[in-house]
Amino acid sequence: MVGVQTLEAETPEERSRAFDDLWNQPTGRWKFFQQVNNIPIAQRYMGTAFAMFLVGGVLALLIRAQLIVPENKLVGAEAFNQLFTMHGTTMMFLFVIPFLEAIGTYFLPLLLGTRDLPFPRLTAFAYWTYAFGVVYIYSSFLFGVAPDGGWFAYPPLTLKEYSPGLNIDFWDIGLSVAEIAALGAAAEIIVAVLRMRVPGMGLSRLPIFAWSMLVFAVMIIFAFTPLIVGTAFLELDRKGVTFFFDPEHGGKPLLWQHIFWVFGHPEVYIMFIPAAGIATHIVQTFSRRSIVSYPLIVLSILAIAFLSFGLWVHHMFSTGLPTTALGFFAAASLVIAIPNGVQFFSWLATIWTGKPVWSTPMLFTIGFLIIFLLGGLTGVMVGVVPFDWQVHDSYFVVAHFHYVLIGGVLFPLFAGMYYWLPKMTGRMLSERLGKIQFWLMFVFFNVAFFPMHITGLHGMPRRVYTYEADLGWNGLNLISSIGAFGFALGVVLGLVNFFWSLRYGKQAGPNPWNGDSLEWSHSSPPPNAQFKYIPEVRGRHPMWDQDSLEPTDPRFAKLVEPLQSAPTTWRGALVVSVREGAPTGIVHVAGPTAWPFLEAVAFLILFAGLLIERMLLIIPGVILAIVALIGWFWPKSSEANALAEIDMEGSEDRLPLFVYGRRSNGWWGTCVFVAIWSTAFFTSVASYFYLGEGPSGYWPPSVPNLIFGLLATAAALASIPTVHMFARTVPNGSPSMRRTGLALTALLHIILLGFAVLSLTTSDVRMETAYGSSVAFLIGFQCVTAAILLAMLAGSFAWTWFKPADPRGWGFACNTSLVGYYAAANWLITFVVISITPLLW
């Protein structure tokens, strides 16, 4: 039983207070940097992201002010380049994705009925890394070198030869920092949705927003990772180390476009899917009925996610690809309208058959439906290849994607703010101001962007800082600029409403909208100690369908009883089975610490050093990163409390504590890491083949030294049984055998690395070619993989040495074994790719 000794000594009130105190920590002077709970971190995340929205909006207004009349001199060409680059970068990378992750961080635990996300320290790290990424990118303005290569940064324009300043470096490296934050948050979301839910919430009862966040997070992993690899290629090219995009050395600028749009097109849906999830909740709540066809909505989310990864070439229709290939991607571009249409009709049918209440969130949702429909229709138009050729890089495309992104993302986000802010602040926003805001934004949005379709059809290209007076674009640009300022007025009114409501808004109460999902079961605002008493759900709409949330299923009730208002000396949360949502165990959730903050500081220092190429910054950055990582994973006393209170076996009426192996969150987190890492590897391999293909390809005059490659392969193969050796000693095997397995694995991977590097350095592969670059990158990738593995092996070894019987060490060993198997497989594939395939071609 949980804390039997403690509980018997406490009254229920004392226990409840102790539980609250535990989840309200930290309380000291440095609490701002130590906070890891989902709610305070999410609030900061939202605040920072919304501030970036305002900054990005100001940049947009400057763009429209410059274009309001022909031959305007408000800003010059260089400043205009910086404005549109930073506007796009800010909105795409620094506002929408972080804001959605913030909403997920705040609301997912509430919707799922769990107490926090699985890795709270990662939550804090993701926020700080993102915040420092923002500081990093925007500090470029202070130095007068703001990024100016467009949010897509196409080479060769962005190569050193044509962009010699640090502008692109700020973009490249700063973006990587922000992307790391996004990946961290994605890992959290995946594990949370799959494992940490309320009893009874099987996947078939998952709230639609949770479905959409799950898909969003998976998409981030498969879309953002290639971009990180691409930005690494670009930065290495800019530093003169590699030549991936330099045609003079066999590189291909088009490789960047492929990598960028493999990220860039899913990115649109990464933003849209959670926004649509919010819209679904609002339609449901304000139509006073369940969504029409839950399965079709889930299917649509999944189908859109899949299809979005097969559309990237529709951004490249004008690059001279074979027409058949264009046909494939045009087909996919058109078919994605089907799942979108299914969702659309489901929303309409829900409203049609419900009893709609036209509150502000619903109005914004209706605005979303109308604007997104128009954006979708022009999307079908640009999916038709010949039409795309005509309007490519014109203002028609600017109009199209603003209809999609503002209609499909911003309007649902505002709807969501009006819907969920009362839950967050405890105060209702003014309906009257909200409705005025909606109409201002809706009308002026169309005033701003509808004329751009015509401007584009009249031939105005994107990204020009001015235009001549006799081209017939003057009136249309004037109208667009007026619309932009009117739209901004609507946003300002929303801010006024927010601050007004904090002081004068009506008390919201727990469920002001009569919502159906679990977040409405909590007080407004919710406490840090969420779900002190574990509820149970028995359908898709617990707040509508159930008289009480208390567990009635005797199996569940008995199992979760020890978690009611407990534990009180460590943070514990329930784990359920993936499919059916039956309680299966308890996990320890990490408490407050400043290490994630310091880790993010280390990243900032390290990346600043990489920017200006100063070892004086790089070395302290690396050292601090290692120290912070050790501090992060240092054994916690609260974990020891958990192990002392709950056994790991469990029984029919007692839940076990999940500490190691497949049942622990750490194992799932490591699986996500391996998925990210293998996506990066796959991108590198695909780039290798892409660079070699075609008449301008370099197909190698020489390959890496085969003998050394074979020796490295032998080491990789030999490491598989040694990984198996230490993995199978968990939990009850001999510690000395575990140590031997760990040491041998480390030794074999060091040998592997030595031979891998020798296979390159002793060959005739020329580093100043794109081929040499891609081979060196793959071997470098193996080196980084091995470095991570060696660090994990060292950690496991330390556990086995000092505390061989501690289950936390077993967990570390299990997770290390996953990376160990991966590292071996990584080399085997690398060897086949760089040494065998050239012989077969």
Binding site: G202, L203, S204, R205, V292, S293, Y294, P295, L296, V298, L299, L302, A303, F306, L307, F309, G310, V313, F317, S318, T319, G320, L321, P322, T323, T324, A325, L326, G327, F328, F329, A331, A332, L334, V335, I338, P339, V385, W389, G539, R540, R579, E580, E693, G694, P695
Partner: protein, 135 residues
Amino acid sequence: MGTHGHARVQVHLPNRDMFVAWLLAPVAWLVHLGASYLIVTLRCVDAWNESAVAITLIAVTLLLAAISLYVGLHSWRRMRALGIPADPGIALSKDFGMDGLSMAIGVITGGLFLLLIVMNGVTPFFVPTCATGMG
């Protein structure tokens, strides 16, 4: 799980059925897209016989379309075996648990991705296989 008076689903389907229903059809399409794109770009630059490219594309299309069709039919059979009515109005609106949801999704993904694979696959009949875009 079988609320609203419909058959309660007690037996859980194996993971294999889940994989088929949720992932197989989209994966078949992604493989079709990737394979078609590779065949066209690689073989066209090597001046492979154009009709050979078209025949290969059609063969790949038939194979992957068959897989997608299998997903739809297999999920349909499982869905009916679970006691879920053939009426879409019921099958797609009531809560039949994770198994029911999965099989309904399998039926529709099978159809959707079959359509897409066929749409991709007929492209070689309408455009010169190896011509380059924008002339």
